[in-house]
Structure formats: C-alpha cells, structure tokens
Amino acid sequence: MTFTDEWEKLNWDDVKLSIYSKTTKDVERALNKPKRDLEDFKALISPAAESYLEKMAQESARLTRQRFGHTIGFYIPLYLSNLCANACTYCGFSMENRIKRKTLNQDEIAQEITAIKAMNFDSVLLVTGEHETKVGMDYFRQTLPQIKQSFNYLAMEVQPLEQKEYAELKTLGLDAVMVYQETYHPSTYAEHHLRGNKMDFEYRLETPDRLAKAGVDKIGIGALIGLEEWRTDCFFVAAHLDYLERRYWQTRYSISFPRLRPCEGALQPKSIMSDKQLVQLICAHRLLNSEVELSLSTRESAHFRDNVLPLGITSISAASKTQPGGYANDEQELEQFSINDERSALSVASAVQARGFEPVWKDWEREFQSIEAAQYEK
C-alpha cells in the first residue's frame, strides 16, 4: 500500500465542494476543539475562516511556542546543478529554457562550502535539476561525503529516487528529502510537466513512501501553490501528511509553502493566494498538527517573513542563491527563480532575534549516525 491508494479515494471536486461549503459554525467548532481532524482543516482553510484569522494566529502561535519554544531553525540551499531533462512550465531550469547550464565539480563545491560556512550555516539543502546521467546517483555518491564533512544536517531536493538508492544515500549522510508534489490534480499536473521523468505523477506521489521505508529521518512535502485551486491542493498536502504520520511513525515531517506569484514574463498562477491566505494556511496546518515543522523560504519578502515568524513557522532559509556556484561567485543568469528576501544571513538572524527568537544553526550531530551507517554497509 502507498499513498496512491488513499489518494484514489479522494475525489478532487468533492473535496473542493466540501471546503467551500464550510460555514462559520464549522470554523468555530474546529477552533474550539482540543484535537482537530482533516474535516476541521477544511473548515480552517475555507473562505468561512477568513474572518477568524486573528484567533487562528493566536492559537497557532501558542501551539508553536509550546512545542518549539522561541527558536527558529536556519538552513541554506546549495544548488549543485541546473541541468535538467524535464520541461516544467513554472521552472527556470526547464530544459526548454536557453540558459547557461552548470554542474559544480568538487573544487567548485568546496568553494561554495567555504562561502556558506562563513555565514554560520550547519544545515544544508542540496538542490539539482533532474539529469540521470550527469547528476544522478554517481554524482551524489561523489559529492555527499564531501559536503557532509562540513554540515551536520544534510537535506536534498532532487529527482525522486528508488528506495534502495535513498537507503544508500543515507549511509553517505543524507538526513532529509524535500519532494513536493507540485499539484495533486493529475490533469493539471500533466499540463505543467510536458517532458521528462517528472511526467510520472504516481512515481512522484509515492516518493515519500519510498523515503520512509528507506529510513530517511525527515521528509518534506508541499504543493506549488497556484498551479491549481490552492485550497483543494493544500488539503491534499494535509491528507498526505496524515497518511504518512500514521503509517511511518518514526519519520519527521515538514511542510513548505512555495507559491507562484503573478510575475511578468513568467507563468501566471491559476489560483492567486494572498498574503492573508498564506497566513491562514500556515495557521491551519499548525492547528491541525502541533508537531509538524513548517518552513518558509526566501521566495517570500523580508517584511512578510519577519511578521509571519511567530505564527507557526519553525525553520527558514536565508541568504539563498538559486544558481549553482552562487555563493562563491554570483552569476544571476543561471538562477532557478528570483528570491524576494535578499538580506544576508546575519541580518535575517538579527531580525529573528529582534522578534524574541533564537536562531538555531545546529540541531543535529552527524556523529550520531556514523555507527548506523557503518552497520548498514556490513
């Protein structure tokens, strides 16, 4: 059994209708419950809940402080390659875009590591496009051990892999994998994934199952908000998490909220999510699940990030460059998407402190795992 079986039971139009039929009574009931379920989540993301935003934010902030205290985890993406054999309508790395392609070699990675370590980061997210031959398992086998020497926590956001490949990467230091479904609506998914392996909706949908079975510590899921009607897509994210938590109880989970913004010359979102609605969504996730990690990237503006910080977010990226080699040598023509919060890591950390939070750079000890890795090799 995988999430596909659960997903097949959920009818998109029924879910959508059910969300839009929620009334203020449903919202109030959800708010007053000590433990909430997916029906309550529907009410909390529904239009009916918009007038309850302050109350949701208060409760979300309270639950987050109780579980995570006054701390915010810091991580940074490290783009290793923008080579890609997929054509996706929303992505700067799409094979159809004529951009300069680059894959970092070991020397270039070393330079990136030096630049990143100078900013104090200890948690890194490796990002690549999808290119099986040039940026596949062989490349990861070469690069992971090198990178792991400098970071205690190592996450990846790369093409979906096989369970045994994840298990192997775990022995090389892999701690977490982010794999966003983009949209849970299959025909919309097909409209945006025109060529390449990423066209396979189901293989992607089942990736978190494979990750959990491989024993990867943390799995990040999410939808690319705006490809489809956001409320319905985000309900599917919550349902996916609910399934995963019940089935794979030893895994940690995080949710991200990348949203497409209306932008000249780029793909226009089908469904526009306002700042207010993003706050509503973040709070709804926290009210449903007080333990899940919620992450916010530099796609969002400094103003928005600073203000949303106390409401439920547990980790943020900072000073991100979305092009390979961008920390040691900033060449913007290679980037995947332009970031909104361009502040330095130090200045984001100061803003976090000014709001009464402690930036957490280190939250894992890689030495913990070395025995396990060694035993796996036997």
Partner: protein
Amino acid sequence: MSERLTIAGKLFSSRLFTGTGKFPNSNVMQKALIESGTELSTMALKRVEVNNPEDNILKPIVDAGINLLPNTSGAKNAREAIFAAQLAREALGTNWLKLEIHPDPKYLMPDPIETLKAAEELVRQGFIVLPYCHADPVLCKHLEEVGCAAVMPLGAPIGSNKGIASRDFLEIIIDQARVPVVVDAGIGAPSHAAFAMEMGADAVLVNTAIAAARNPIAMATAFKLAVQSGRLAYENGLAPVNTQAVASSPLTAFLD
C-alpha cells in the same frame, strides 16, 4: 532547610533540575537558570557545538557554575544513544548522562526496550545514567537494577505542560524506588512541581514551562519556590485528607 539530595554521591541543595531548550536567547536562559537556583541542567548534545568554547548553550551554563547533564535527544535506538553518550563524555568531560531515546518524533515517547538496553551498557561503561522513561513501575525497577543512578519517569507527554497525569503510577514508583526519582516532562506550572514534590519525588526537571513562559526569569523563581515548598511539605508530613467529618460517636467506644 530541607534535606539535601544525593545522586551518585553528589549532593544537591536544589531539587529543581532544568533544561536549556526553547529559550528566546542565551542571556535569558542564563538568567532564568541562575534565578531557578538549579545545580543541574540538561542540554541536547545535537544542539551544542562541543568544540566551541563560545557555544551559546554551554558557555552560559559553565559560566554560571551549573553542572552539565548532556542528553541523547535525537537518538532513535540504543546504539545511537550509546554513541552520543561517548561523544558527550569525551567532549564535555562529564560521565553524567540523561539517557533519552525516542524513535517517535511526533510525541517523543521514550522507548522502554532500547532505553533499558542502553542503560545497562552505559552503566557498564562507567556512566552515571539518569534515564528518561515512562511512568512504568516495573521498568523503573529494571532500570534501577541495571545500575541507573536515578530514574526520570514522565509526568505527562514531554512539552505538554499537562502536569502529573501519571500520578497513580508515579506513586508506586516513588514507593518502590531505591534510587532517587526525578519527575521529568509534562510539568507545566509551579503547582504541578509542588504536587510532585509533595508526593515524595526527589526532584523535578522543568524546561518548557520556564523557557516558553512570557517571562522565563520570573517563572524560574516561581518554580524554585514551588519545589522548595513542595519538598518542605513532604518532609513535614502533610495532614491526611478527610472526605467527611470525623464521627462524633466513635464506633469502637463500647470497648472502653
């Protein structure tokens, strides 16, 4: 002045043990810990940079003269916990250890089987082991028998602030134990801490309730007083609880 507590030959004047997570910054943490009067504070090995003398968790504790109790939080099994313990001993120069193993990252429930396995091995390796565990009287006896210096059963799920939800089981543990019993996890208010001490717990460990309070420093004082008060009450024999007035005509008067 209350009786002092002894664990593994070390004397403690304060029966309030503390944690170091969730504080808004290291300055507030240090002030709160000093105010609390604590003499033993636990820190997650995964969170500290053991080789950095300026580490923002270790340095404030060391400077304040508080004893370190490194913990194995993040370890999912006995093997990882043992490795973390060895690393802590080597880097921090203490063989005191709060053993915690939770394979479940959602509710952070301690794993009784792996904890017992790890405790036995760590005691053999010369550690002073304080295991975090369920309020399971049989498990606590086993942990005592393999040589743990104390047991640390939970009052309620960690970070929940729900208080002494495991009261009936803690009473049995306290009654049976031949090592100190430290109630760990779930204590959300000074009244909970006082209650645990009145029951006869030897100490309590408090983190979230202080660190996540609106004013952690003042809350640390509140907990200090509650623990002292609860202990004093325990040592001086609480008057029994009567559910009804004492009968005015004794039933056995006819025997006189």
